[in-house]
């Protein structure tokens, strides 16, 4: 069994809510790495792709070769967790968009699916995989997963829409656990997806 303090988990630091994830990882007792250069991906056990603008992060990933290196590291067993924009970047299919992506998960995603900013919301979610206590989830111009292919495990829904899912070493959430103080989703990633 891996000790958390030996785990190195990176947060892709090109744009978005990077610091919030780094703080959360440190709070979980991990070695948190701000990934700003391709070389920073070396030696990581897991990587978080944060919330931000998926078009911006996607373009910067391609321009600086992060996409190629992340795919190579995933081939070596690196786990990846995407929140909001990160969820979009992990999807194989983004409805109506040809934007840059990593495409690791067999999911069909719709961007800004709940509407514009005035429709952004907080809600209590039931996520049995992390325990019985509801999780206060923050959705900001959030996407949702329209459908999943076989092999993808649905972990949470809101209003019938899929908002959290896992496929092997990939985890995604449409909401922002890094904007709360509840560490359970980061712990799930560390204990079940990275170390699992």
């Amino acid at each position: 069994m891996n000790l958390k303090s030996n785990l190195r988990i990176g947060v892709l630091g090109l744009q978005g809510a990077v610091k919030e994830h780094l703080d959360m990882l440190e709070g979980c007792g991990c070695n948190a790495v701000d990934v700003r250069k391709v070389g920073d991906l070396q030696g990581l056990d897991g990587l978080i792709i944060p919330g931000g603008e998926s078009t911006t992060i996607g373009k910067l990933m391609e321009r600086y070769g992060f996409d190629v290196e992340i795919k190579r590291r995933v081939g070596e067993g690196m786990a990846v967790f995407g929140t909001c924009a990160g969820l979009i970047l992990l999807a194989k299919d983004i409805v109506g968009s040809s934007q840059a992506r990593l495409g690791f998960m067999d999911i069909h995603v719709r961007r800004n699916a709940f509407g514009r900013q005035v429709e952004s919301f907080e809600a209590d979610l039931d996520i049995p995989a992390i325990g019985a206590e509801p999780f206060r989830a923050v959705f900001i111009r959030a996407p949702y997963i329209e459908s999943v292919e076989p092999g993808v495990e649905v972990l949470a829904r809101f209003d019938g829409k899929i908002v959290m899912a896992r496929e092997g070493r990939f985890l995604v959430s449409a909401f922002h656990p890094e904007l709360t103080r509840d560490k359970r989703i980061h712990e799930y990633f560390i204990e079940k997806v990275v170390s699992g």
């Binding site: 919330g51 603008e53 078009t55 911006t56 111009r141």
Partner: protein
């Protein structure tokens, strides 16, 4: 329970913009150029600040028809400006479904005494500041994001630097101050005491802080980031330059890699001429936009 327009959700969108560039655009075509360059959001306007400055007259909220066309053209968030204190312009933009409202000194103020009560809205607001007191007054009124004012429409970064340094200096001063002196500090900077205490404890503003007003080159953007900005607004600097698409892309990359001189060399090379600009030091106090609002 489902809640919309909460403080977490308003502040949260600004958190998602960090490390990014927000660009002023006046047409759907410009909005596409900005999005393709990697902008995290666009500011929909009828005229960029340099043209507002040149045109004179009263500058008001843009025509909703123009803003709607820009909203339809891109998938990234769209912001728009209202006059200081003009809460009805803000009601109109909220009803239009705008993602962020900039209560901006670039437009002609509608109220010289009162800024908008931004708590009354579900849509989040960004406001300008020249110093920490001004930032905390705006946050006290409900601004979920702050930008330093600089001097809009000049292409001269000197005022942006002045304002960012001032905010950062005052934060450091509060951090080092014994707790029993914070009330006097709050009185002196005319800022809400609770927010003064929070800044002293956090060592930063409680909301995201971008730089604005005069940023015209990739190096300007990286300078503001190294001085402590969370991201940058570029107004006239892109679409008043020789090659907007190349400059926009270069400023996006310089903002993301602001601490990497090798990247800054690469992106600064061969991107055409910057906007010509006006020296801010040559402006009279009456010509300066930054003094609007308090």
């Amino acid at each position: 329970m489902v809640e919309k327009g909460t403080w977490t959700v308003k502040k949260g969108l600004a958190e998602m913009l960090k490390g990014g560039v927000i660009m002023d655009v006046t047409t759907p075509e410009q909005a596409k150029i900005a999005e393709d360059a990697g902008a995290v959001a666009v500011m929909a306007l009828e005229r960029v600040p340099a043209d507002i400055r040149a045109a004179g007259g009263v500058a008001r909220m843009a025509d909703p028809a123009i803003i709607e066309k820009i909203m339809d053209a891109v998938t990234i968030p769209v912001m728009a400006k209202v006059r200081i204190g003009h809460f009805v312009e803000a009601q109109i933009l909220e009803a239009l479904g705008i993602d962020y409202i900039d209560e901006s000194e670039v437009l002609t103020p509608a109220d010289e005494s009162h800024h908008i009560n931004k708590h009354a809205f579900k849509v989040p607001f960004v406001c300008g500041c020249r110093n920490l007191g001004e930032a905390l007054r705006r946050i006290g009124e409900g601004a979920a994001m702050i930008r330093t004012k600089g001097e809009a429409g000049t292409g001269d970064v000197v005022e942006a630097v002045r304002h960012m340094r001032c905010v950062m200096d005052e934060i450091r001063r509060l951090q080092n101050m014994p707790e029993d002196e914070l009330m006097a500090a709050a009185k002196e900077m005319a800022a809400p005491y609770e927010l003064v205490k929070e800044v002293a404890k956090l060592g930063r503003l409680p909301v995201v802080n971008f730089a604005a007003g005069g940023i015209a080159t990739p190096a300007d953007a990286a300078l503001m980031m190294q001085l402590g900005a969370d991201g940058v607004f570029v107004g006239s600097g892109i679409f008043k330059s020789e090659n907007p698409a190349a400059r926009a892309k270069a400023i996006v990359e310089a903002t993301a890699h602001y601490n990497d001189p090798d990247v800054l060399v690469k992106v600064s090379r061969g991107i055409g001429e910057a906007m010509r600009g006006i020296q801010a030091a040559g402006l009279t106090e009456a010509e300066k936009i930054q003094g609007r609002g308090w």
